[in-house]
Assembly symmetry: C2
């Protein structure tokens, strides 16, 4: 995607060094971080220098590459396999909810277990690039399928503005390129469809106002930031034609784990008859579990993200205390939307209902 | 209620001067503002030095008193009736959604129209005090009725902690004393019931984290601040036993206008079988209208409240920019919850269903 007119991915490699866009400073400051060790990659994931389902997956893939090269190039006598196993554990522990992370780690472990010691680095790099490329290709296809849905909505309104609401950032910053929830929006916009996006600010970390608004702005897509409380009111008054969100993990039966608050928007969409779409590359589907409400672990983050708000003041990123000094806070990062509230899933293969039968019809190899 | 152990109301008079707690500086700074003119009172209401349904009503009552005395004591030859009418217009225009404001203004206009010129000030003061006293008395009774509901929930859990979720501030800061949504909580807590409150931070103005958390803390009630996105997840996992919110205006058929985001919590409560209570003094009921979704005007406030977050930094109240410099924002202040999502209303007269028949059974004089 474009940043000041120049094409970027969220993560890439160059001469054995991995670079990523450090999202902590956006929208006020565009910074690139270079990562040289798996430990630094785990920190970048855990502390959300890079975040979002697909981007975390690509970061984990590259993290495994760094683990493999640190061991193979190390002058110490340590077992390179040990270094890879330790890297895998470190990465898996960095964030618990997104399935892409463990998917990428597993994929690297599998291929590296069949690789001779002297080829670990090359193989891991090729695999890391493949994970990133596949993510970008899947998002491009999601844009194709989802863009058609928006085109139909536009026709139904005789070309009047199509209003899409999105929550958090399932934009290109959350993936390697294009994004999931945003891919249909970019596709429709590029085809000349009159589109406007309501951007949930997405407390506590404001990924909506900080990241989604920023990347929509970079692409020129008309958008308006709203408080997370607002979507229900807009839907009640016909001001939303579709909700499109991403997901950090969707079960084989269609339960959707996504940023905390997604369930509330799904309820409002259901109550007001607004279609509720979840865009996802199939790497986000967890084929192992079924009931997401019972089985998906929900990350709890530090209370300071709730007690403070972070933004720009006098040219610097600063945090203001928005709560009484002594009041405690709780910070659940995700919630789970049951399949009955989801109109359709949009993946790289097409548009289908959120139930096991429909999902397996689209992915027969997973039966 | 208590502030550092000393009893306060949110607004009071002394020697012809009206004083109020200036809520803009809470929770970090407790400031009292003195108001000497109706113009200053209109500013205090519009710019939310004082906010909340009952507190706005009391402020409007006192504002009319200031209008009446400014005209009667003025050395100019202006008609005191003219001054009262101008004051009424000014106050009515200050905030559009809460019915208590226009209720208090109407009540003063009615009584002053039957009052001789030389008694306007005294009459208006007596009426302003009556409006404030009635608000406090109604809240006390809401605490009595709602406290019983919490006692029943506590018994049903064999005395285990009762978890209540509330949105915005319908606490004593929003009224003259006790509050509405908080009155049952204070009542139950004072009776020794084990209670814990989930406090929605309530973006964009954070009345939950700034005000509700502060006043619960002053009273010693255990509480935890959460992002507005969180309530649905908590309800899905059995961590909420009841939702209690206030209202800025409820129609005779039970539509509830309250702080933006209330509708989303009502949907989640309905979806998960959690009782959803609305606490209100009957001054908040708009007997003139029926369908709240169509008929209640929804205030839109400035976009800067969304684009910035305000809190304490280095001992000062400061605002940080949390959005891209060029992204627009929209700021709808209220939404309307339909009666089908409301378990019960709790007023000074008791607990009853949110439909016209049940409401009129409780207020037969309004038939």
């Amino acid at each position: 995607m474009l940043v000041d007119g120049k094409h970027f991915r969220t993560i890439w490699d160059n001469d054995g060094v991995v670079s990523l866009i450090d999202q902590r400073w956006l929208p006020h400051d565009f910074r690139i971080e270079t990562i040289r060790t798996v430990e630094d990659m785990a920190t970048a994931i855990r502390d959300m220098h890079i975040r979002g389902a697909g981007a975390i997956g690509a970061a984990a893939g590259y993290g495994m590459y760094l683990a493999a090269t640190s061991s193979s190039s190390s002058s110490s006598s340590s077992d390179p396999r040990k270094s890879i196993r330790a890297g895998a554990e470190l990465l898996n522990a960095a964030r618990p909810t997104a399935v892409n992370l463990s998917y990428a780690v597993k994929r690297q472990l599998r291929i590296l277990s069949d690789t001779p010691d002297n080829d670990l680095g090359n193989t891991a790099l090729t695999e890391a690039r493949a994970i990133a490329d596949e993510d970008a290709a899947a998002c491009k296809l999601i844009g194709h399928h989802g863009g058609k849905l928006l085109e139909i909505l536009s026709s139904g309104k005789n070309g009047q503005t199509v209003n899409v609401l999105t929550h958090c950032n399932a934009g290109w910053l959350a993936f390697v390129d294009f994004g999931t929830a945003t891919a249909p929006i970019y596709e429709a916009f590029d085809r000349g469809i009159d589109i406007h996006v309501w951007v949930d600010e997405t407390r506590p970390r404001n990924q909506g106002s900080r990241l989604t608004a920023w990347e929509l702005g970079q692409h020129g897509v008309p958008h308006t930031i709203i408080a997370d409380n607002t979507g229900g009111h807009l839907m009640q008054h016909g001001l939303v034609d579709a909700v499109i969100v991403g997901t950090d993990r969707t079960t084989r039966s269609g339960y959707v784990a996504n940023k905390i608050g997604t369930y509330l928007k799904a309820l409002a969409a259901h109550d007001t008859g607004v279609p509720f779409y979840v865009a996802l590359p199939s790497s986000t589907i967890d084929w192992e579990i079924s009931n997401g409400l019972l089985e998906i672990p929900i990350e709890q983050r530090g209370p300071e993200e709730i007690r403070y708000a972070t933004g720009e003041l006098e040219g610097k990123t600063q945090s203001v205390l928005i709560a009484p000094a002594k009041s405690p806070a709780a910070n659940y990062a995700f919630d789970v939307t049951p399949p009955r509230l989801v109109t359709s899933l949009i993946s790289e293969r097409g548009v289908f209902e959120a139930n096991e039968e429909a999902i397996l019809a689209m992915y027969p190899e997973m039966r």
